[in-house]
């Protein structure tokens, strides 16, 4: 077992911290600890992206889930010192963007002071903690970028960051391909470590249908109900589908935030709002199809959770990550147009044997690939392999 301490660096970390990457980091840290690896977390004292700079956690040494966490004061961007020391040959808007995000000068000073004593793993590609941290530690640095195909990914700072570290750890094959393409890196510098999910959940679909008084086919979506998850497209396509077919299916919309439904969908969409984990897994189990039309996914936990309950998924064909998952698992279909969306729904709702088999193939794949213990072993191999 490696004796060197792995130090995870990210802008926010803690029990009250929201965010997909932050939750992923917390579970990974826990799995590494259980695997017997010495691990520490360094973060700012702010809570999360909702209040990115305000002090929330105590500064200094703390402990989360039995793991030491060192917190530093948060500030915008990074001090001039790093620009002078490492240079910054990128367009001014990219500098301004970097300076507008949560960083910590004190954290970076501490990284510089202990540079050669640890292995550093930076989470989230856009932040000053990762960009400058990676410049400071060089070959001792690793990056979990949680990258997706969005405009920031094409910034020259992103390319520099991806090329500065020893290895970039991808969450999925789709993300690996994107990283290799953007940074012109060979695939062996971008190992797919993946993500795990909690595999113990058992959804009760019949209970969910009884509780909500639902019969007939159900299509389930959960996540932010806005453009970031391409949810308006799902609503528009579903409305069109209802117009072209008998009102044969109900759309279940779970997730935080208000749901602004057009009049045509008032009776065909059930607003589940924010759900408990058990209620969410009951909904996956009850659904005939789980639909995730988002384009900017770097892993998509919800797709894995749907498969865990044996439900086939429908994703957007322009999201390389979720399409790659569907291909690997043989557990779902994808659409690039309304006509394909309609053909997918017709097939999955009319041919129940095919839908069931896709769901169970997805379930078998998730049980095989998404165990946190295995993710921790892949992570350890990626960080300690010379």
């Amino acid at each position: 077992m490696p004796t060197e301490t792995i130090t995870i660096v990210l802008p926010w970390y803690g029990a009250e911290t929201a965010g997909g990457a932050e939750a992923q980091a917390r579970q990974l840290v826990q799995s590494l600890r259980e695997a017997g690896v010495a691990v520490e977390v360094w973060a700012t004292d702010a809570r999360d992206a909702r209040a990115p700079l305000a002090a929330f956690y105590p500064r200094g040494l703390d402990e989360v889930d039995g793991v030491p966490v060192r917190r530093f004061p948060a500030n915008l961007g990074a001090a001039q010192q790093w620009t002078k020391q490492y240079g910054f040959e990128h367009p001014i808007p990219e500098y301004n963007l970097l300076q507008s995000l949560t960083g910590s000068d004190a954290l970076l000073q501490a990284v510089a002071a202990e540079r050669d004593q640890r292995r550093w793993v930076f989470f989230l590609y856009a932040y000053p903690t990762s960009f400058w941290g990676a410049q400071i530690v060089g070959e001792r640095g690793y990056l979990v970028p949680c990258l997706h195909d969005e405009p920031y990914a094409y910034n020259s700072t992103t390319r520099t960051l991806l090329r500065s570290v020893r290895r970039v750890l991808a969450n999925s094959v789709g993300e690996q391909q994107l990283i290799c393409r953007l940074a012109d890196l060979p695939s062996d510098r971008v190992p797919v470590v993946g993500e795990g999910i909690e595999l113990h959940w058992r959804g009760d679909g019949a209970h969910f249908r009884r509780e909500h008084n639902l019969t007939g086919p159900l299509i389930f979506f959960t996540g932010r109900r806005d453009h970031s998850k391409n949810f308006p497209l799902l609503l528009a396509y579903f409305e069109e589908y209802l117009a072209r077919r008998e009102p044969r299916a109900t759309l279940l919309a779970g997730g935080p935030g208000p749901l602004d439904l057009p009049p045509a969908l008032q009776s065909a969409v059930v607003d589940l709002g924010f759900q408990s984990q058990q209620a969410k897994h009951d909904a996956y189990a009850a659904a005939d199809i789980f639909c995730m039309p988002g384009l900017l996914e770097s892993f998509s936990i919800v797709v894995m959770e749907a498969w865990l309950q044996g439900t086939p998924v429908l994703v957007h064909g322009d999201c390389p990550v979720t399409v790659a998952h569907c291909r690997q698992a043989n557990g779902g279909l994808w659409f690039r147009s309304y006509r394909q969306f309609e053909a997918c729904l017709d097939r999955l709702l009319d041919d129940r044997a095919t839908a069931r088999q896709l769901g169970s193939q997805g379930q078998a794949w998730v049980r095989r690939e998404c165990r946190w213990e295995d993710v921790a072993q892949r992570f350890i191999a990626a960080v300690f392999e010379e």
Partner: protein
């Protein structure tokens, strides 16, 4: 049981979609996409906050404050006019989206009343 290959299934799906006729248009999606940015930026702030952490930045803030005071008579009326115009555009877009949603509800109800099966729809084309 043999593995069901999704690439093979997708070939069938794509063939069915290609035979299904012309792709419907969704103009509401383009309009909806404009809303978040318009809602966030429709009111332009003529005096955004100036922050100076270092001595050099604080000096720069003082110079900016002075320049703003000198230029205020020319800038602020124009900003007020622009804000009025932006508010009108936002209001128009919201009304348009509401009217479009209402109209689509009527159309959806009428079309659902004469439902076709996938096979009937393919035959119609």
């Amino acid at each position: 049981m043999s593995t069901l290959n999704v690439d093979e299934l997708m070939r069938e799906i794509e063939a069915a979609a290609a035979q299904a006729g012309a792709e419907p248009q969704f103009p509401q999606l383009a309009m909806q996409q404009l809303l978040p940015a318009l809602r966030e930026y429709h009111a332009v702030e003529p005096r955004p906050p100036l922050i100076g952490r270092t001595r050099y930045e604080r000096l720069w803030v003082r110079i900016n404050q002075l320049l703003r005071r000198i230029a205020a008579h020319a800038v602020e009326p124009a900003v007020a006019q622009q804000n009025e115009s932006n508010a009108a555009v936002l209001d128009a877009l919201e009304q348009l989206l509401r009217a479009d949603a209402g109209l689509r509800a009527v159309v959806t109800a009428q079309r659902s009343a004469r439902v076709t099966t996938p096979q009937e729809e393919r035959n119609a084309h």
